[in-house]
Symmetry: C2
Subunit: 578 residues, 2 copies
C-alpha cells in the first residue's frame, strides 16, 4: 500500500508549497540528499558552520540511542568534500549550530511494516538549535540520515534557512540477498544493512537457504546446517542472527527471513535425504528443458507426501519465528519443477492414482501456512504459488489477509494479475529489479560459447534475464505501472534482488550499489520532479555525488560515469535538454 497521508497532512503540504516554493536543486547547491526528500524549501543559498561541540538531543529509545551516537560521530568527523564545490555563502558571522533537537510523537511504535517514517527538519539562519520532528523513532533515523547528508566540508558546514518535510511513498523498500548459492560473512551483511539505512531502504529480505547450502543454524534442527552448509565456518549461528536483527533495529531495517520451500531445498537432503525428492541428481538429464529436475543445478524439492517433511519444517518455522521478530515470514514456494517430484517413487504412485502436482503443492501449503499464521506471521510467497503454468494452488488456500505475493516474472503484467486477484504484493520484477542479470550464464561446458564468428546468436551465453539492469533501468521503473488507483494500493513496495550464483563478498558492494540507491529514491519520493517530468538528468548528477559519498563511507559502490561527467554536469547526457 502507498503510505496513507491524512487529508490534514495533504492540506499542510499544499500550504507549505505556497509558503516555501519548491526549489529545483542543482548539483552546485549544498542540498544533495539521496533519496531526494519529498519537500525541500531553501529559498536562499545560505549555510553556516557546525559548532565544534555540536550535539544531538533526543528522547531516550533503546534502538534510536545508538543511531544518535553514530550520527553524531558521523556529522562531526565525516568532513565530506563534494565533487562540485557548493555555490553557497557560508556565513562566518552567524553563530555556529550547537544542537539538533529531536522530538518524537510516538516513541513506542515498533519497527514493522507500515510504521510511520515521516519526519521534518528545520534549520534556521540564526538559532542555536535545529529541529528534527518525527512521528516515530524510525522516522527520526531517516531524518538523522538526511541531516548527515546535508553536512559537508572542514570545518563542517550545513545549509540554513532550510525546511524539509519527508515521508516515503511506499512502506516496503527492500533488498533481497541470497546467502545460499554463495556465503556472506556477518560483516558483509551488516555493511549492507548500514548502506541500506543510509539510502532509507528498510527491509533486508534474507533468502537464507536454497538447494546449494543451508547456512542457518536452526536450534531444533541442527543437522540441517551441520550437514547442509558449506562448512562450519559458513553458518549463521543464533547469536549471529541476533546481532544482525539488533543491528537492523538500530538502523531502522527489518530483517525478513525466507526459508524457501518446498522447491530449492536440495541442501536439506544432506541431513534428511528421506524428505527430499530428486536430491543430488544431474539437473538436466536430457536435452529437453521440460525434463529438467531443477531450474538450475542443484536439485531437490521437499516431498509433500512425507509426514516427516512437516515435522522438520515446523521446527524450522518455529525457530525462525523465534530468531526473527519480523512479522512477515517468507515461505518461498517458487519454481516447483515437475520433473523433480515426478522422479520420486512415492509421488509417482500418488500421480498414477489420479493425483496432480498442484494438489501436492496445495497439500504442502495447507500443511504449513496455518502454522505460519498461528505464530502471528503474515506469509510471503513468490508469485509462482498462484501464477505458475503447471504447479500452483487455488487461491482459496491463500487467505488474502495473511498472504502477500512477491512478483518477479513478466514485468508489470504479473503485478497486475496479483493485485487483481486481491493480494497485496511486493514487486521484484526480474526485468527491472534483478541485480544479478547480465553477467552471462554460469553453467560449465556450454557449447553455446563455441561460435567464433561475428554476429553470434544473441542468446549465446547471456544470462536468462539479460541485460544488466542499469541504475537508470531501475530508476525509471514505476512499480504501479498500468494499475488502477485501487489496485496500486495493494502494492506494498518493491525489492531489488541479488541472487548469488556469480556473486559473493568479493563483489557484493559493487553489485548492490549504487543501483539499489536508484530503487531507494523511486520508492521513497518517486522519479519525477514537481512538474511531473522524469528527473533523470538532475538525478544522474546527484547520484554521482552520492555514490562518491557512499565510497567515502566504506561502501565499494561502482562508478556510474567517468569523473569528468560529474565535474561537467549535463555534459554526459544523452540530450542537452535536462
Amino acid at each position: 500500500m502507498r503510505i496513507c497521508i491524512s487529508k490534514f497532512a495533504i492540506i499542510f503540504i499544499i500550504c507549505l508549497t505556497f509558503i516555501f516554493p519548491p526549489l529545483t536543486l542543482s548539483l552546485k547547491s549544498a542540498v544533495n540528499v539521496w533519496p531526494k526528500p519529498r519537500l525541500v524549501s531553501w529559498p536562499k543559498p545560505l549555510a553556516r558552520f557546525l559548532s565544534a561541540n555540536f550535539t544531538i538531543n533526543s528522547p531516550y529509545h533503546q534502538h534510536l540511542a545508538p543511531a544518535v551516537t553514530r550520527y553524531l560521530v558521523l556529522v562531526r568527523t565525516e568532513h565530506y568534500h563534494p565533487l562540485i564545490t557548493p555555490s553557497v555563502n557560508v556565513s562566518a558571522s552567524a553563530p555556529p549550530l550547537q544542537t539538533l533537537s529531536i522530538n518524537i510523537t510516538d516513541l513506542a511504535a515498533p519497527l514493522q511494516h507500515g510504521v510511520n517514517e515521516t519526519y521534518s527538519l528545520s534549520i534556521s539562519e540564526v538559532g542555536e538549535t535545529a529541529y528534527l520532528i518525527a512521528e516515530t523513532p524510525w522516522g527520526a533515523m531517516r531524518g538523522l540520515e538526511t541531516f548527515s547528508q546535508l553536512v559537508w566540508g572542514n570545518p563542517s558546514a550545513i545549509p540554513v534557512g532550510l525546511y524539509i518535510w519527508d515521508a516515503p511513498l511506499f512502506a516496503h523498500r527492500g533488498v533481497m540477498l541470497d546467502t545460499s548459492r554463495n556465503y556472506y560473512g556477518v560483516a558483509d551483511i551488516l555493511r549492507t544493512i548500514e548502506a541500506m539505512s543510509a539510502n532509507k531502504v528498510n527491509v533486508f529480505h534474507w533468502h537464507v537457504t536454497d538447494s546449494q547450502s543451508f547456512p542457518l543454524m536452526v536450534p531444533s534442527e541442527p543437522e540441517l546446517a551441520a550437514k547442509g552448509s558449506y562448512g562450519l565456518d559458513m553458518i549463521y549461528s543464533p547469536s549471529d542472527v541476533a546481532k544482525i536483527v539488533q543491528f537492523g533495529l538500530e538502523h531502522g531495517v527489518r530483517i525478513l527471513p525466507e526459508i524457501d520451500s518446498p522447491g530449492h531445498t536440495g541442501s536439506w537432503a544432506e541431513a534428511y535425504p528421506e524428505i527430499v525428492a530428486c536430491a543430488n541428481m544431474f539437473w538436466l538429464p536430457g536435452s529437453d528443458w521440460d525434463d529438467r529436475f531443477a531450474s538450475e543445478p542443484g536439485t531437490g524439492q521437499l516431498n509433500p507426501l512425507n509426514q516427516k517433511t512437516y515435522k522438520v519444517l515446523e521446527n524450522v518455522i518455529r525457530d525462525v519465528s523465534n530468531l526473527f521478530p519480523e512479522t512477515f515470514y517468507h515461505g518461498g514456494a517458487d519454481e516447483i519443477i515437475p520433473g523433480c517430484w515426478k522422479a520420486d517413487p512415492t509421488i509417482q504412485s500418488f500421480l498414477s492414482n489420479g493425483g496432480t502436482l498442484s494438489q501436492l503443492l496445495e497439500k504442502f501449503i495447507n500443511s504449513t501456512l496455518p502454522y505460519i499464521i498461528s505464530l502471528n506471521r503474515t506469509a510471503v510467497y513468490w508469485e509462482d504459488v498462484l501464477l505458475d503454468d503447471v504447479v500452483k494452488v487455488n487461491s482459496s488456500f491463500l487467505p488474502r489477509e495473511h498472504t502477500i505475493l512477491q512478483t518477479w516474472n513478466n514485468g508489470s503484467n504479473n503485478t497486475k494479475k496479483i493485485v487483481q486477484a486481491g493480494y497485496q504484493t511486493i514487486v521484484s520484477s526480474s526485468e527491472f529489479y534483478y541485480l544479478d542479470c547480465g553477467h552471462g550464464d554460469f553453467l560449465g561446458n556450454d557449447s553455446l560459447y563455441d561460435p567464433q564468428t561475428t554476429g553470434r546468436d544473441p542468446k549465446d551465453g547471456k544470462s536468462w534475464c539479460d541485460p544488466f539492469k542499469t541504475w537508470q533501468t531501475i530508476y525509471n521503473y514505476d512499480i504501479t505501472f498500468g494499475l488502477s488507483e485501487d489496485e496500486a494500493r495493494l502494492v506494498l513496495g518493491g525489492e531489488v534482488a541479488l541472487w548469488s550464483e556469480q556473486t559473493d563478498p568479493t563483489v557484493l558492494d559493487g553489485r548492490l550499489w549504487p543501483r539499489t540507491s536508484a530503487m531507494a529514491e523511486t520508492l521513497w519520493s518517486g522519479n519525477r520532479d514537481e512538474a511531473g517530468r522524469k528527473r533523470s538528468a538532475e538525478a544522474t548528477d546527484r547520484l554521482n555525488e552520492w555514490r562518491y559519498r557512499m565510497v567515502s563511507r566504506g561502501v565499494k559502490a561502482e562508478p556510474i560515469q567517468p569523473l569528468w561527467c560529474i565535474r561537467n554536469p549535463g555534459m554526459c547526457n544523452a540530450s542537452p535538454f535536462s
Copy 2:
C-alpha cells in the same frame, strides 16, 4: 606471431609425449595450474612435503632476484587449501624437498616482445632438489609461478614424479587499462600487474590519457597533467612510472604506454586550447549520430594543421620513451570523428580548399610516426587508422616493419583484413575481449529508459558492445580464427581491454579477474585438450579453484559459480558429457 618453436623442440616434445603420456587431469589431482602448462607428466598421484628450510637457488639477476625472494615466501607461507582435497598420496617417509634449483641459459635476454619464456620443471620422487630450467630470467619467473601453484596445504606438500614442459603459444598476452575516464592509484596498478604475472600475462597496455583526463606528468610538458588531470592527487609522477616499470620487470610484465592521439585528446585543451579542435563542446549537438563531435562525452581532437600540435607531441613522445623502456609505443589513432575536425575554423578552410579528413590524418601520422621510429620504437595503432570508413590513411604511411595494428571491431573479420594487408596485429575484439561491456550505457538523461512495459526494445539501455563477455566467451575465442597459417603468424597475441567509464578502483579486480585468466590460458596453451576438444568442463573446475586461490592472494576476483558447483564437479555443466 605465434612463438616459433624450432624443429628440434617439436621433436623433443613429441618424444616427451611418448615417454610421459599426457595426463587428463581432474580437479581431484593436485596439479591445477592456471594457465595449464603445455605438457604435464605425472604418472602416479604422489606428493611429498616441502622442507621447513626449503630454499630456491638461482643465478643472480637483478629482476629475477626479487621474484625468487617473493616466491620463496609464497611457497613457504601460502598454505593454500584446495576446495577439493587432492586424492593424492603424500608420502611421509619420502625426504622433504629441500631446494628448487634454477638454471638459466641466457641471463642477459631483455624483457621485450618475443623473448623466450620456455621453462621446464622436474620434481623427482626422492631427490632433495627439484629443477627449473629456463631459457631466460622471464621464463624462470613463469616456472616459479607454476611451482607456487603446485604447492598446497599445511605443512606444504607438492606433487612429485612430475615433469612439466611449458612455453606460450602467443608472445603478446596483455591487459589494456584505461586510466583516463577514471583514475587508479599506483597500488591498484601494481596489484593488477602482480595478478597478471600469476596468470603469465606479460603486457600491461596502459591507456594513460584520453579526453576525460591527462593523468601522466610529462616532464617537458608539465601543464598537460597540471591542468588536464582530475587533480594533483590523481597524477602519475615520473617516480610513480619508474616504480610501475620496475615492478613490471620484477614480474616479467612489460609496461606498454599509449598516448592516444589525435582523437581522444579533449583533456589536452586544458593546457593548450589552441591545438585542440572542438574541445569542451556538448558531444551530440543534434539528434543525428553523424553530427556528433565525439563517440562519447567529452570532445576534443588535436588539430593536425597547427604546428604547435607537433611541438607538444614530440615532447610527449620523447618523454614517454624516456619513462618507459618498452620498445612498443602505442599512438592510439582510433575514432577520429569528422564532426569535431569540421567544427574547427582552420580545418574548415583546409576542407573548403579541397583537402580531405583523411589527408589531415595522413599529415598527422606523417608528422609523428617517423619521430616515434627514430626513438627505436615500434608504433602500435588501433585498426581504425587503416580501416575506418571515413578517416583513414593510405598504407604507404604505415611502414609494415615499424607498425602493428590492434584490432577491436568486427570480430575476426578485421583481424583478417589487417593481416591480409601485411601488418602484424594484436587482437582485442570488442565482441570477445572487452571487459567493460554489458554494464549498460552511462549517458545521463536518457529517454531510452522510459518504457515500462515488458519486452522493451532490446537496445534500450544496453552498452554498445553488449552482452557482458563471460569467461567462457573469452575462453572459447580463437584469435586466429579464419586465418591461413601464414596469416596467423602475423598475430602477435591478444589483449583484453578494460575501458573505465563505469569502472574505477572500487570494482577493478572483479572486472578483470578471473575473466583475464580465461584469455591467459588460451593465449598460453590454448583451449583444447590433447584430442583437440575444447576443454571447457575441466577448465571450469580448474578456473574455480584458481579464482579462489587468487582471492586468497588478495585479488578480489568475482566468483564464476556457486561454491556448490566446485564441490560437486561436473554437476553444474550444461551437459553431462565433459
